[in-house]
């Protein structure tokens, strides 16, 4: 049963179309990943779902409620973890959580319990009395997430929750997300980190230039590039002519070259690899390393757009 229905939603800023006629559905209890490079329109879409931005067109239903007409009911169902830390730096972690809890209508003993729980989820119970501005980036991120959990939302929307933090905090966050989802929470997780989406999400949408360019389970998406490997070659010098030669080889589907990294999508790495290496050597390109990767979301994106995720 689909819990969130997005029906031909678009958003235009003058000439720029940030979200371009998007439609999809998210089932209850799903961990939905929204993957795409920076500027793909993920945050705009999230802002539209959370009622911060009015769409130029289209309709969104959350649990059957139109977000336009039933705004305050929808807001109570949703919990958003914003991309930027949205906390008061001079207040303590506990005070911040208490504040946001009250903004969701919590009070009294329930509020105290929820704040305690949220601090436990963030793993920062012992730092409740410390001011946010004394926290590290990762700790702030964790409180930033905790603040969205206080009212036990049916849907948790996380907009790039792991930007710029240490690996330890990142692992903590990913584990938390998994745990919350197992407890039955529907989660929308946006990121431009392919690994995170791949690790977490059961159902994935890939976004680029304001459009959903592919959608499905991990397996379904991989099938798009099935039997395709990625050969990654690190070069110390470059030669545009030779790239064109490689492109024309049999079994080579696509080729990108970024900062000395040559990525080649191919149907069969074993047959084509020898040819590629000899072509490169003939052109006097020096090879540092060669890697052969099985297909992943990165290669899906590459396959669909001809660009790498992080260019």
């Amino acid at each position: 049963m689909s819990y969130i229905q997005i029906k031909s939603v678009s958003k235009k800023y003058g000439d720029l179309t940030a979200v371009d006629n998007i439609s999809f559905e998210i089932k209850e209890g799903e961990l939905f990943g929204l993957l795409g490079p920076n500027g793909a329109g993920k945050s705009t879409l999230i802002s539209i779902i959370t009622t911060l931005i009015k769409p130029s067109g289209g309709q969104i239903l959350v649990n059957g409620l139109d977000i336009k007409t039933k705004q305050s009911e929808v807001k109570k169902i949703l919990g958003l973890v914003p991309q930027d830390i949205a906390l008061y730096p001079t207040l303590t972690a506990g005070e911040n959580l208490a504040f946001w809890g009250k903004m969701y209508g919590l009070g009294g003993r329930l509020l105290k319990e929820r704040v305690k729980e949220a601090l436990e989820i963030a793993g920062l119970s012992d730092r409740a009395k410390n001011r946010i501005d004394s926290f590290s980036g990762g700790m702030k991120r964790r409180i930033n997430i905790a603040a969205a959990l206080l009212h036990k939302p049916k849907v948790l929307i996380m907009d790039e929750p792991t930007v710029g933090i240490d690996p330890q905090s990142r692992n903590h966050i990913l584990e938390t997300v998994q745990k919350l989802n197992k407890e039955g929470m529907t989660v929308i997780y946006t990121s431009h980190y392919m690994e995170e989406i791949e690790f977490l999400c059961s159902y994935i949408g890939i976004m680029d230039h304001g459009k959903i360019i592919a959608m499905g389970t991990k397996e379904e998406l991989r099938k798009l590039v099935s039997n395709k490997d990625v050969i990654k070659i690190k070069l110390t010098n470059e030669n545009d002519a030779v790239f064109n030669t490689i492109k024309k080889l049999d079994n080579v589907d696509n080729i990108t070259f970024i900062d000395g990294d040559l990525s080649i999508n191919t149907g069969n790495a074993d047959t084509v690899l020898a040819k590629i290496i000899s072509t490169l050597e003939n052109a006097k390109c020096k090879i540092q390393t060669i890697n052969i990767e099985q297909s992943n979301l990165e290669s899906v994106f590459l396959h669909l757009t001809g660009r790498a995720l992080r260019d």
Binding site: G39, L52, K75, P82, L87, Y88, M103
Partner: protein, 415 residues
């Protein structure tokens, strides 16, 4: 309602986390009030008037000159020093005395049909206290002239009647004259401020200056400490987060305004109590009306603060903008000094500022004990100003919760 209170209470809490804000919003106005009100004597005990240092060099040996000096010495507000000419010049220059007088050798003597009553005054050009001393001298002199005149006229009469024993009679005349003088002037003039009710009240400079400082600093706390929190919320991204919480825009704004109100009133209360108990300022009998006046003033300034907050992007920009607006307009509105000392044009310009109306209304309630109906016009004007700016700023759409668009920058935003 809970959410509104929540926003207000936490805004208030945040203010107290900022020590610098506390210093500049509570301590600075206290210091200002202290210094500015020290210009005026304490309204409760007039005896405390500080004596003004006055220097005199009497080069004249006449009785007239000597009497004049004694009269000056006898005045309760004068601390008289007899100095040489040079000492007077030095003392004035170093501000040791407020003013110096040099009575010339030929004082009171006739020269070419004109009696010389010339006294040389030594003062700094910026001296403001000298005029009071000069009028003491003038008044003493008039008294001496009256006595001398009566005596002279009477002596002529006695002469024309060929009466002996003149000295004794003239002595009695002088004695009677002095007795009458000591009983007080025949006609006294009593000036007071017209107040509601029948109590007589003198104009209270301390109350006026304390009010002025309060009116000005309240504007600071309302604009920077109050409406500035919206910008602060934007900076902290919490403005957007407030927008996605199930709280309406009206509730959020009401919370912000309530928080601002609490801050403003905290400052007002601190200043009123400080004025009352430390400086002995009399805040008058119509305290209730004054509270209404200040509340409406707070609302009108809140409207202005909200408007200013729409003009800038960060609270770091709001500070200088607010300062450049608040200080000059407060000066023009009579927060620093009585507005009457300024030129007519300046006084007309002042009508544009809410501080002017607040001061006007407060003078009526604090000093003249007037009632609400007497302050209706200032209240209506302040209310209208507040509404105008409130509507203007909500219409501007600057408080939308929309996140900033990082359009087309995808590629160069670092991961």
């Amino acid at each position: 309602m809970n959410k509104i209170i929540n926003i207000a209470v936490f805004d208030f809490k945040k203010l107290f986390r900022d020590k610098v804000a506390i210093l500049s919003m509570i301590l600075l106005p206290l210091v200002f009030t202290f210094i500015m009100s020290s210009i005026y004597p304490n309204s409760k005990d007039i005896q405390e008037i500080p004596k003004v240092g006055v220097g005199v060099t009497n080069l004249c040996s006449s009785e007239l000159a000597a009497t004049l000096v004694e009269e000056l010495r006898a005045d309760p507000s004068v601390y008289l020093l007899e100095l040489t000419e040079q000492e007077i010049l030095d003392a004035v220059k170093s501000s040791g005395i407020e003013v110096g007088f040099i009575i010339p050798e030929d004082f009171g003597q006739e020269k070419e049909d004109i009696i010389n009553y010339n006294i040389t005054v030594v003062k700094t050009p910026s001296s403001s206290g000298h005029s009071a001393i000069v009028s003491i001298l003038e008044s003493s002199f008039t008294e001496i002239i009256a006595k001398e005149g009566t005596r002279g006229y009477y002596k002529n009469k006695l002469d024309s009647l060929n009466i002996t024993e003149q000295n004794r009679i003239l002595f009695i005349l002088s004695k009677k004259f002095d007795e009458k003088i000591n009983k007080g002037s025949l006609v006294t003039v009593e000036s007071s401020v017209y107040t509601a009710g029948n109590n007589i009240k003198k104009f209270d400079g301390r109350a006026q200056s304390s009010m002025g400082i309060a009116v000005m600093f309240v504007m600071f706390i309302v604009i920077i400490g109050g409406m500035g929190t919206i910008l602060d919320d934007k900076k902290n991204n919490t403005w957007g987060r407030l927008g996605i919480s199930p709280t309406s825009f009206t509730q959020i704004m009401a919370g912000k305004i309530l928080g601002t109100f609490i801050k403003g009133w905290t400052q007002i209360i601190v200043l009123i109590l400080f004025g009352k108990f430390v400086l002995g300022v009399d805040w008058g009998n119509s305290l209730g009306t004054s509270i209404i006046v200040l509340s409406i003033y707070l609302l009108s300034v809140t409207g202005i603060g909200m408007f200013l907050a729409t003009l800038v992007k960060t609270d770091a920009q709001l500070g200088p903008l607010a300062t450049i607006i608040i200080i000059p307009t407060s000066m023009l509105s009579g927060c620093y000094w009585p507005i009457e000392i300024m030129s007519e044009t300046m006084q007309k310009i002042a009508v544009l500022f809410p501080q002017y109306w607040a001061m006007k209304a407060l003078r009526s309630t604090v000093i003249a004990n007037m009632s609400l109906s007497d302050t209706a016009i200032p209240l209506i004007i302040m209310g209208a100003m507040g509404m105008f700016f409130f509507v203007l700023s909500t219409m501007s759409g600057a408080f939308k919760h929309e996140p900033k668009q990082k359009r087309g920058k995808g590629a160069d935003v670092a991961a």
